[in-house]
């Protein structure tokens, strides 16, 4: 790991809560680490396991997924479905030996600008400690 290495944290956020929360963090000038790459989805229920797999395949060191608190989903139930899917995703990734410290789920509402910035800073800090996810990146063999 070079001196200048910075974690790349792909962050999937729902449009209505967490994206707005991130926006609030920005307008309120709460500082947070620049290591996240935000991908906006309409709802946390849109999250597919392929998103996590693809992110790691393409070089992510961690994946952060955040949506509305249960009960507050803009589409009423999306995050309830998401919650069950996340349970399954986490279990399978654990079973297969993926480093689950690198897959983080959160609920962050539109008013939680502070929570968002703290979350990003905490996650960035912990990923900095454990280093790049080279084990996953090494899977991308071009020849046998």
């Amino acid at each position: 790991m070079s001196e200048n290495w910075e974690p790349k944290i792909i962050t999937f956020v729902c449009n209505w809560c967490t994206y707005a929360g991130a926006d609030l963090a920005g307008t309120s000038r709460f500082k947070y680490a620049p290591n996240i790459r935000i991908i906006k989805t309409p709802c946390s229920g849109r999250i597919d396991p392929m998103f996590i797999v693809s992110a790691f395949e393409k070089g992510a060191d961690a994946v952060l997924i955040s949506g509305c608190h249960p009960g507050d989903c803009h589409y009423n139930e999306g995050n309830y479905n998401a919650r069950r899917k996340f349970t399954m995703m986490k279990k399978l990734l654990e079973t297969i030996g993926v480093d689950t410290q690198r897959v983080i789920f959160a609920w962050c509402s539109a008013s939680e600008g502070i929570k968002f910035s703290r979350l990003v800073n905490d996650v960035t800090e912990s990923i900095k400690k454990i280093g790049p996810y080279t084990e996953y990146h090494k899977l991308n063999q071009k020849e046998r």
Partner: protein, 284 residues
């Protein structure tokens, strides 16, 4: 089994079904599927402990779906798949005539012992059928007791790094033949995620990247749906212990959602529903 042959002939002769899918003898290899369209073919039908195939997998094949009505010879474990197909609205109850066969256990002809799934079977006697053939078998596993798989305990005891190394070794032999997908009764998507190329979700190369992605996604698309028939592992030409992945999710579904797939056609599969109190300890 004369009763089976007679019933098959009756269904075909009365034109009650266009096609009957059962088993025939495969010599030293035990048994293999048989597609019966006329009474003469029905004479070859058998049923014994070598009838391993889950014939329900054929029900979603386009040419079989096109039949007016199909009869299928099925063990309790196979019927679990049918129950899932019904609860996922992939077919109507009237489209299929279920010939349920009581079954004590199935075994590989090469003598590798009783299938692990049989030790925890709750449906030796078919739980959904139009007719049940064979003498009743004593149910040994309590219906309300969660199924405990033993093979996965060894995997669960490993550290994360050990598990990663384990699967790297196993998937190095994966040739991406998709026998696991084709044999699985619940992999019925007309166009599988691996067949998409805009975007190419899953790398089609049989390198570690592609193999991990394929096996992770297939297991997750079966989350809450896998009925533990074990066909994927049995048909894998590379001897990869695929059931470990499916069983880890079965156990999670049991623990978190009190769910076991394929017993009650009225019940709602866990990922189609939710409870307000679902676990979210792991969510910040």
């Amino acid at each position: 089994m004369q009763e089976l042959i007679n019933k098959a002939k009756e269904l075909i002769e009365n034109k009650e079904v266009d096609l009957l899918i059962g088993y025939q003898s495969d010599g030293e290899k035990g048994a293999k599927p048989l597609f019966v369209k006329n009474p003469l073919q029905a004479e070859q039908l058998i049923f014994n402990q070598y009838c391993l195939n889950n014939l329900v997998t054929y029900l979603m094949r386009p040419d079989v779906k096109a039949c007016k009505k199909v009869a299928v010879v099925a063990k309790g474990c196979d019927i679990r798949a049918l129950v899932m197909l019904l609860s996922e609205n992939q077919m109507s109850r009237e489209d299929v005539y279920i010939i349920g066969m009581t079954c004590d256990h199935v075994v590989s002809p090469d003598g590798t012992g009783e299938n692990e799934k049989c030790a925890t079977c709750k449906v030796h006697n078919p739980h959904l059928a139009d007719i049940v053939l064979g003498s009743p078998v004593q149910e040994k596993y309590p219906k309300d007791k969660p199924v405990k798989h033993t093979q996965i305990e060894k995997l669960n005891a490993m550290s994360q790094e050990e598990r990663w190394a384990f699967w790297q070794e196993e998937f190095s032999r994966c040739i991406r033949c998709y026998a696991c997908r084709q044999a699985c009764p619940l992999c019925y998507c007309e166009r599988c995620i691996v067949d998409y190329n805009t975007p190419q979700w899953i790398d089609t190369r049989s390198n570690p990247r592609g193999n991990f992605a394929w096996n992770i996604v297939r297991a997750l698309h079966l989350a809450g749906r896998c009925i533990d028939c074990g066909e994927c592992e049995r048909v894998c030409p590379a001897n990869i212990p695929l059931m470990l992945l499916n069983q880890s999710l079965q156990e999670e579904a049991q623990e978190k959602f009190e769910w076991e797939a394929g017993y009650d056609p009225e019940s709602e599969p866990p990922l189609t529903t939710f409870r307000k109190e679902d676990d979210e300890e792991f969510i910040r």
